[in-house]
C-alpha cells in the first residue's frame, strides 16, 4: 500500500509539472496580454504596468518564476484583482465552490443511485421508463437552462428561494440542484445497467433460489457489486462538477473559484490562470488516486500492485 502511494505521488508530481509547463506554453501562445484593451492607454503606462508585473522579463525567466511559485505554492499577486494574491483568491473562492460541489455531489449520488435502483427493479415497467426519461432529460438539458428554469419557477414565481448571490443555506439550494442534475442522471443510468447486469449473475439466481429477498438482498447481494462502477466514476464526476460549476456560479452570482478559473483566461491574468490550473489539477489527481484506493478496498479482486500478494 505504502509503495503504491509513493509511486502514485511521484506520478502526480510529474503530471503536475507537465500541466504547469503546458499551461504556460499555451497561455503564452494566446494573443493579447493582460493590458491589451481598446482603451486609450499611453504606451508608457502600459510599459509601467508590464514592468510592474514582470511581463517584460524574458519568457524563460517568467517560466522559472512560475515553477518556483508552484513549488512553494505561492502564485503571486493577481493582475486583474489588484489587491489580492492568487492564493487569497483560491482560499476565498474554493471553500464556496467546495460547498456547492459537495452538496451537488451528495444530491447526485443519493438520487442517482435511488433512481437507478427504482428503474432496475422495475425493469421495463413504467417506473423504469419514467426514471430513464428523467435521466435522459438530465443528461441532455444543459445545466444553465435547468438553472434558468429553477430560478424562474422557484425564485421569481414562487419566491421560495433568493434568485442569486451567496451567504445562507437558501442561497445554495437551487445552484446545488442545477449542478447535480447531469451527474445524477449519469449515475442513475450507470446504476441501473450495472444492477441489471448483476441481477443476471449466477450467484444472484442462487441467492434468489435460496429465498433471500427484501432489502437485505438488494443491499448485500446486489448493490455491493453493482456500485463498483459507480465508485470508479466518482473521480471523473467530481471533475465534471468542479469544471461545470463555472456556469452555475456565473448564473447564480456565486463567489466561487470557477469564475476566476474561466475569467482568468479572458483577462489574461497569467498568475491566476497558472494558480487555478495547478490547483484544479492537483485536486483532480488527488481524486483519481483516492478513487483508485477506494476501488481496491471495495473490490478485493483488484490488486493495487501487480505481482504482490
Amino acid at each position: 500500500m505504502l509503495q503504491f502511494m509513493f509511486r502514485r505521488l511521484i506520478g502526480a508530481v510529474i503530471t503536475l509539472f507537465f500541466i504547469i509547463t503546458l499551461t504556460f506554453v499555451l497561455m503564452s501562445a494566446i494573443p493579447g496580454d493582460p493590458f491589451t484593451s481598446d482603451a486609450r492607454v499611453p504606451e508608457q503606462v502600459l510599459d509601467n504596468l508590464r514592468d510592474h508585473y514582470g511581463l517584460n522579463d524574458p519568457i524563460m525567466v517568467q517560466y522559472f518564476k512560475y515553477l518556483k511559485g508552484a513549488l512553494f505554492l505561492d502564485f503571486g499577486p493577481s493582475i486583474k484583482w489588484d489587491n489580492q494574491t492568487v492564493n487569497e483568491l483560491i482560499a476565498t473562492g474554493f471553500p464556496v465552490s467546495a460547498i456547492l460541489g459537495i452538496q451537488a455531489l451528495a444530491i447526485a449520488i443519493f438520487f442517482g443511485i435511488l433512481l437507478g435502483i427504482i428503474a432496475a427493479f422495475n425493469h421495463n415497467k413504467s417506473f423504469d421508463y419514467m426514471a430513464m426519461i428523467i435521466a435522459i432529460l438530465g443528461l441532455s438539458v444543459p445545466s444553465f437552462i435547468f438553472a434558468t428554469i429553477l430560478i424562474n419557477f422557484f425564485a421569481i414565481k414562487l419566491q421560495w428561494f433568493p434568485v442569486a448571490t451567496w451567504g445562507t443555506w437558501q442561497h445554495s439550494i437551487l445552484p446545488s440542484i442545477a449542478l447535480a442534475v447531469a451527474p445524477m442522471a449519469y449515475i442513475a443510468r450507470l446504476t441501473r445497467s450495472s444492477i441489471l447486469e448483476v441481477l443476471s449473475m449466477d450467484y444472484i439466481q442462487t441467492a434468489l433460489a435460496k429465498g433471500v429477498t427484501g432489502y437485505r438482498f438488494i443491499i448485500v447481494h446486489v448493490l455491493r457489486n453493482a456500485l463498483i462502477p459507480v465508485v470508479t466514476i466518482l473521480g471523473p464526476i467530481t471533475a465534471t462538477i468542479l469544471t461545470g460549476s463555472f456556469v452555475i456560479e456565473q448564473i447564480f452570482g456565486i463567489p466561487g473559484l470557477g469564475k476566476y478559473f474561466v475569467e482568468g483566461i479572458s483577462d489574461r491574468d497569467y498568475p491566476l490562470i497558472l494558480g487555478t490550473s495547478f490547483f484544479y489539477s492537483a485536486i483532480l489527481v488527488f481524486f483519481v488516486i483516492l478513487v483508485d484506493i477506494a476501488y481496491g478496498v471495495i473490490d478485493p479482486r483488484i490488486k493495487l500492485i501487480k505481482g504482490r500478494d
Binding site: I30, W81, Q159
Partner: protein, 546 residues
C-alpha cells in the same frame, strides 16, 4: 469479514458525503431571514449590482467604469457635479483660476473629513496625484493627470524630481495646481475617479489598506461597512462626511452578479432596486414600455477602415460603404438599446469648452441610408481603382451578442444596396483588439468613449502616426486642425478648429460612425435621487427610497 468491511466502506463514503453536505448547510443557517427582512424593512436600503468584484477600489488603480462608480460613492474629489451636471463644491469649498488659465488654487473645506476622523488636507491631494503619476504605481488611467505641468514627463521617468510637478501645497487647506497649458475641462476632471484623493497617512502606514473593508478609509458620502470579496460590498454613510445631512440612505449594498438574466430576475423579485445590465432579449421591450430608461453615454460605435488596404485607401469606396448603411434600422431592429444613429463622430453630451460640441457642429454631417450617392461613389471608386467589381472584403468584429447581429445586418445591407460581399470573422475580445492593433484587418467594428468632458479626448486617435491610429489614417488637413486646436488658448477659436476637424474626418469618411451608445437601466419607481451623467460616475449621495 473482509467483504463486510468493503460494503461498510462504500456506504461510509456515500454517508460521509451526505453528512458533510448537511453539516455545511446547517452551519450557515442561523444567519437567515435576510431576504424577508429586506422586503419589510424598506429602511433606506438600496441594492445595486456591481456585476463583478471591482478590480480595485483604490481610485488610482481603477480601470473600469463600474469600479469607478463604486469609488465615486466612497471618495470625493476637489469638485463634484450637481444633479444637472454643473460643477459644485466638493472637498474644495472654493477655487480660483489665474488669468492665463494655467494656475488653479483650491481652498479646501475645513470640515471635509476622512471616515477615520482625520481632516482632508492639501497634502492628501498632493500625495494621491503624485502617486498616480509615479511610474511604479502603473496607474491605468494615469494619463488623465498629464494636463498637470510635467505630469507626462514624470510618469515616463524623464523627470525624477517630484518638485518639478505643477502641484504645490500652500498650506494645510490650500492646494495649487499648475497646468501644462490652459485646459477648459480640468476643473470638471478633478471629480473623475482617477483624481480622487486617498488618505496619505493611512496609505503610508498600511500599504494594503484598500484591499479589505476593515482598513478602508475614504472621504466621500459613504464608507465601507463590509466587503466580502467576490460577493458583496456594503456601504454605509460616512458619519464624518462634511455634507452628511444630504445622505439619506442607511445602506448601499453592491451585489456581484454578472449574468444578465439573473440580474433581471433579481430586479423583478425586488432583490435589486436598480439594474444596469439588462438581457438583450427584454431590453427593447422594456424601453418601449417605458420601464427601462435610457441616458446618453458619450460613446460612439463605428466602422474602422484599414487605410493601408489598397481598396479602402480610396475615399469613394469608403464613402460608398459608409453611406449604404441604414443606421435607423440598425438601432431600431438590431441593437435595440435606445441608441442614436450617428451621423457625425463626436457623441452628444460632450463639451467643447464653449458649450456642447454637437450643438456647435450640427447633428448630421451626412445623410443616413444614402443609397443613391453610395452607388454612384462605388462606380466612380471602382473606376479609379481600375476594377470591375469589388473583391470580397474581410469584416472583423469582437464576439458578443450585439456585434454578431450588427455585423450580419451590415453584411446584408451592403449586399442589397451595393451588391458587395463581405466575409464576417469574429474573434475573442483581446485577440480582436490585438489583431486590429497590429493592422491585420480590412473592416472592423470598434467603439470609443470619452474619459473627460471634451471633444478633444476622442480626436487625437486619428492623427497621423498616433499610437491608437490603428486605421493608419493620414489626413494632413485633419492633423493640422487638431494640433491647432491643441495649441489654441482662446476657447471659441479652439472649438471652431475642432468642429472643422470633425468635418474633415467625416468628409473623408476616415471612419464610418454607426451609432451613439446609451446607458439603459431599470430603476424601481420608489427610488429617487440617483444622478447619472454622460461621463462622470453615477452619484448615489442623495438617493433615497420613498
Amino acid at each position: 469479514m473482509k467483504r463486510k468491511n468493503s460494503l461498510f466502506l462504500t456506504l461510509l463514503l456515500v454517508c460521509a458525503l451526505l453528512v458533510s453536505a448537511c453539516s455545511t448547510t446547517a452551519n450557515t443557517e442561523p444567519k437567515e431571514n435576510e431576504t424577508n427582512n429586506q422586503k419589510t424593512e424598506k429602511e433606506q436600503t438600496l441594492i445595486v449590482n456591481a456585476n463583478t468584484e471591482p478590480s480595485s477600489l483604490d481610485p488610482v488603480l481603477i480601470d473600469n467604469q463600474m469600479a469607478g462608480d463604486m469609488a465615486n460613492q466612497l471618495f470625493e474629489g476637489l469638485v463634484r457635479l450637481d444633479k444637472d451636471g454643473n460643477i459644485e463644491a466638493g472637498v474644495a469649498e472654493k477655487w480660483s483660476m489665474s488669468d492665463d488659465g494655467l494656475v488653479y488654487t483650491f481652498y479646501l473645506n475645513k470640515n471635509a473629513k476622512w471616515s477615520n476622523g482625520d481632516q482632508v488636507k492639501a497634502e492628501d491631494f498632493y500625495f494621491s496625484w503624485e502617486r498616480a503619476l509615479r511610474p511604479e504605481t502603473a496607474a491605468p488611467l494615469g494619463s488623465n493627470l498629464f494636463f498637470i505641468k510635467n505630469g507626462m514627463q514624470y510618469n515616463s521617468g524623464e523627470i525624477k524630481d517630484s518638485a518639478q510637478l505643477g502641484m504645490k501645497v500652500i498650506d494645510e487647506n490650500t492646494f495649487e495646481v499648475t497646468l501644462e497649458k490652459p485646459t477648459s475641462f480640468f476643473l470638471g476632471l478633478t471629480a473623475f475617479f482617477t483624481l480622487l484623493p486617498i488618505n496619505k497617512e493611512v496609505a503610508e502606514s498600511k500599504p494594503d489598506w484598500a484591499s479589505e473593508g476593515e482598513s478602508f478609509v475614504s472621504n466621500g458620502p459613504f464608507k465601507i461597512q463590509n466587503w466580502k470579496h467576490g460577493q458583496e460590498v456594503i456601504m454605509e454613510p460616512n458619519e464624518h462626511y462634511w455634507a452628511k445631512d444630504v445622505v439619506k440612505l442607511k445602506q448601499l449594498k453592491w451585489v456581484m452578479v454578472n449574468e444578465q438574466n439573473t440580474d433581471y430576475g433579481m430586479y423583478q423579485s425586488n432583490q435589486l432596486n436598480v439594474s444596469t445590465n439588462l438581457p438583450n432579449s427584454v431590453r427593447s421591450k422594456l424601453i418601449e414600455s417605458g420601464e427601462a430608461l435610457t441616458a446618453p453615454a458619450a460613446r460612439v460605435v463605428y466602422l474602422r477602415y484599414n487605410h493601408k488596404n489598397e481598396i479602402l485607401e480610396n475615399v469613394k469606396i469608403r464613402k460608398a460603404l459608409g453611406l449604404a448603411l441604414n443606421r435607423q434600422l440598425i438601432v431600431d431592429k438590431v441593437t435595440q438599446g435606445g441608441e442614436i444613429p450617428a451621423l457625425a463622430f463626436i457623441p452628444p453630451g460632450l463639451g467643447s469648452g464653449v458649450g456642447e460640441f454637437r450643438q456647435l457642429a450640427g447633428e448630421a454631417l451626412y445623410k443616413d441610408n444614402d443609397i443613391d450617392t453610395a452607388k454612384k461613389l462605388l462606380v466612380e471608386g471602382l473606376k479609379e481603382l481600375g476594377l470591375s467589381s469589388l473583391p470580397k472584403i474581410n469584416f472583423l468584429f469582437q464576439t458578443n451578442d450585439t456585434y454578431n447581429k450588427l455585423s450580419q445586418a451590415m453584411q446584408e445591407m451592403w449586399k442589397q444596396n451595393l451588391g458587395i460581399e463581405v466575409e464576417l470573422q469574429t474573434l475573442e475580445g483581446k485577440v480582436f483588439v490585438q489583431t486590429v492593433q497590429s493592422g491585420e484587418y480590412e473592416l472592423a467594428i470598434y467603439g470609443t468613449g470619452a474619459d473627460y468632458d471634451d471633444a478633444s479626448n476622442l480626436m487625437g486617435q486619428y492623427v497621423t502616426g498616433d499610437v491608437y491610429n490603428y486605421s493608419n489614417i493620414s489626413i494632413p488637413e485633419y492633423d493640422d486642425l487638431v494640433s491647432k486646436a491643441d495649441a489654441e488658448v482662446d476657447l471659441e477659436e479652439r472649438a471652431k478648429y475642432m468642429v472643422d476637424a470633425e468635418k474633415v474626418l467625416i468628409d473623408e469618411m476616415a471612419i464610418a460612425p454607426l451609432y451613439y451608445g446609451t446607458q439603459v437601466y431599470l430603476q424601481k419607481e420608489n427610488v429617487k435621487g440617483i444622478y447619472r451623467y454622460v461621463i462622470q460616475a453615477v452619484d448615489y449621495r442623495e438617493a433615497y427610497v420613498e
